[in-house]
Amino acid sequence: MVPLNWYIVLSTAVFTIGVIGFLMRRNVIIILMSIELMLNGVNINLIAFSHYLQDPRGQILTFFIITVAAAEAAIGLAIIIALFRNKATAHVDDIHEMQG
């Protein structure tokens, strides 16, 4: 039996890698993908808990997270496309029209 803690460490690792990706990458699309990584990290956690606690909520929540992730990705990409039309860039360090 794999200890639950292993899963937690794995999930935290994936989550953190997502965070690092978010913080480091320039390309907006990759940043969105990093967010997906973070969500996946959470999902691993939830599924593992669901299994170990013998409770369906974890899986249900995962289900919803995937749904929301899809919606988020769609909207995010739509925004990127709208932006791309106006500014023709997908790099976050080019997007600082507003500051201060």
């Binding site: 639950l4 937690i8 999930s11 989550f15 997502g18 978010f22 907006v28 940043i31 969105l32 967010i35 973070m38 969500l39 990290g41 959470v42 956690n45 939830l46 808990f49 606690l53 409770d55 909520r57 974890g58 249900i60 929540l61 919803f64 997270i65 929301v68 919606a71 988020e72 909207i75 995010g76 925004i79 990127i80 709208a82 932006l83 039309r85 106006n86 500014k87 976050v92 997007i95 600082h96 029209e97 507003m98 500051q99 201060g100």
Partner: protein
Amino acid sequence: MNFQLPDIGPVIPELVMTGLALILLTAELFIKNKKVLAFASSVGVGGVAFTLIGASGTTFGGMFISDGYSTFFKLIFFINAILSILISVKYIAIEKVNFGEYYSLILFSTLGMMIMASAADLIVLYLGLELMALSTYILAGFIRYDVRSNEAALKYLLLGAFSSAFLLYGISMVYGLTGTTDLKAIAQFITTHGLTANHSLLLSMLLIAIAFGFKIAAVPFHMWAPDVYEGAPTSITAFMSVGPKAAGFAALGRVFMIAFGSMQFEWTAILIPLSILSMAVGNIVAIAQTNIKRMLAYSSIAHAGYVLLGVIVANNEGLAGMMTYLMIYAFMNIGAFAVVIMLRTEGFKGEDIKDYEGLAKTHPLLAAIMLIFMFSLAGIPPTAGFIGKLYVFMNAIDAGYTWLVIVAVIFSVISAYFYLRIVMYMYMREPKVEVSISTSPSMNLALIVTTVAVLAIGVFPSIVVDLAKAAISGF
């Protein structure tokens, strides 16, 4: 398998709201005059407000709760929605984004907020939050030909998703620790198993707090707010400076008071620095702003700090103070944005503070109204803003946080500086450019309502205070 239809009594407002949004979405295809949609949506929301009456109770296996607390917040959301719609009508035409989806999205977002306010389960809460957030992302980027609007939407979305990932991580850990996502059950589990001092639980609570902190734009999770407020369509800035913030507070209050009720000491310790930082950063940085939308964004950050005092108090009175404050804030902030919107005309942004120079000379009435809102935001009686602050401060002092209140009042003096600077520009400078304003009946209505409300609540605070007290009594 026996499928039983749950009691839908408590969710009737949400259902009606969804129906209304869907109808509008469909009607948009047929109705060319978008004003009709605006009218329909605002009247519709008003109608939804009536369904709040009697819609109380718990349903969906305890996931959804409709009580005084949620009802009061829903009232705020409705006011927010109606006023935002009223101030949008002309504005979105000027911005050339006069699409019917606009109104439906506002309603969907409001629906999300309603769900957040009523959520008794972290899953529902999360979904409500996302519904609200996603709709707002779209609205923020609604002027899609404008790069600033795009940027606002993108920043909002990226950071919003980032923060909700943390929220999810927190929820997952809570789930792992307690085996449930139901708020009451969590609370019970924590007390029975003595998890109060458990570090994992503290961490997850912290992460949840952060997500709410993001929604209410509390420092240091406020960074999105100025940029998004500035870039988003002004009517949406007004909308989201009140709605999502109130919803965030609604969720914050419910989750922390119920689920983490036994860990009050810990979470007040988290919220106090957030509150102080919000007041400090919000008020101080606002001084240097020259764009009025941005300035109001910082002001809204600062106001989050004051409202947090209500939560920090951690009792029903405190929550009542918070609710009162938010209700008042809805009126005065949307009112202020309404004035900002009025300055937006074809080919004229009207966002720079300099555009307000001499407004009292060219448009005395508008200037006077703005003056009332500015004084209200600064918390000077006899305006409503004072009542909000007073109530929150009263509760905080009652709970022994006198020092915190002293900090708060000192920052409120600093805030007076930049609010009054607007008044100064309007009244004490000569107009440099000829400013014309865009009026419309709906806008006038919104201004009348907000002004009257700000003054009336200022003089007769019982209107709101009694309501809040009554609302919180069954919490």
